[in-house]
């Protein structure tokens, strides 16, 4: 609901006469992006919270990062992942507060192990050691 309210304010703001004397400050720089600025969140996902503790024995949950806003970079025909990362890096250099560091390099994740039941009540202990995320995003 907070987002909704802010969006309402922005709409009001756009109907307000622009104050020409005031240059765009950091807060305004992406004012049109405020509501969709790319942001990274941290969240603890609890399997108990998901009601899955009857089949996931361990771990109890895991620490996750996720992004929301304009994080999935619009890669169109003349923009590939690499030079888009270059553009983002330039934007980041000019205005570090507003844009998270772009990353298009494959990112190796920590090794995790999961212990869970299958449908036949057999138990599976699986190690995930070589998890690599290959995507452009705010990471």
């Amino acid at each position: 609901s907070a987002g909704g309210k802010r969006r309402q304010q922005n709409r009001n703001r756009s109907t307000q006469p622009q104050d020409g004397s005031r240059g765009p400050g950091p807060a305004d720089y992406n004012s049109s992006d405020q509501k969709t600025a790319c942001r990274r969140h941290e969240l603890y996902v609890s399997f108990r919270e998901l009601g899955w503790q009857d089949w996931i024995i361990a771990p109890e949950g895991y620490a996750a990062n996720y992004c929301d806003g304009e994080c999935s970079f619009p890669l169109n025909a003349h923009m590939n992942a690499t030079n888009h990362a270059i553009v983002q890096t330039l934007v980041h250099l000019m205005n570090p507060e507003n844009v998270p560091k772009p990353c298009c390099a494959p990112t190796k994740l920590h090794a995790i192990s999961v212990l869970y039941f299958d449908d036949n009540s057999n138990v599976i202990l699986k190690k995930y050691k070589n998890m690599v995320v290959r995507a452009c995003g705010c990471h």
């Binding site: 036949n120 995507a135 995003g137």
Partner: protein
Amino acid sequence: GNNDAQPGFIHRRLRTHEKREMQKEILSILGLPHRPRPHLSHGKYNSAPLFMLDLYNTISSEERSRVEGALERYQSMRTTRSPPLATNQETAFLNDADMVMSFVNLVEYDRELSPQRRHHKEFKFNLSQIPEGEAVTAAEFRLYKECVSRAFRNDTFLLRVYQVVKEHPDREADLFLLESRRLWAAEEGWLEFDITATSNLWVMSPAHNLGLQVSVETSSGQSISSKEAGLVGRDGALEKQPFMVAFFKVSEVHIRTAR
């Protein structure tokens, strides 16, 4: 992410669409088509999950010990835990494995075998759920033996584990002796039997998976039932149920596309 809650990571109730997204994400990482529905008796873990949890804690504490030196603490904790505990050999298998699976014994009730084999006990495991491309690097059949009653107290038993090679409708099944072991009647604890070759055969040719049979004799050659020998079966304590465990190695690295 890693196995522990990072201090500072928010614990908050997930919104419905976040829950759905997380569930899809987790199932796709685990390579599962849907959420499993295991049959837990009274919500308690029996021997296999307890054993696997011990292996899981071994992995997690080794990872953490690399960072915090917690292994000693964990080792001391293990000595106070109840069975089943992984042996050093199983911990070595664990280090090499990418996946470990325990399998529930499918034989619900003992069947009356032929008069000659009346005291043979059967065990069957369903290995059909193993993902493609996994090779068994080690497999064990685990059986818990309790101290026996006074009648055999000073005796020794000869315990034999067979692989059932072929079944016949009108005569005894063909058996292949995997191992014979002499035990003290008063001995108590987990017995591990190496069934790596047998498991590999069962994985490669499920039609040959006809299970195992166990027989016990006293030192005078008298055949006795597994119950008399103190072997715990399906009617015994949950945490002492017989089970099989197999260690696997996968070859290819899975690359997941971003969602």
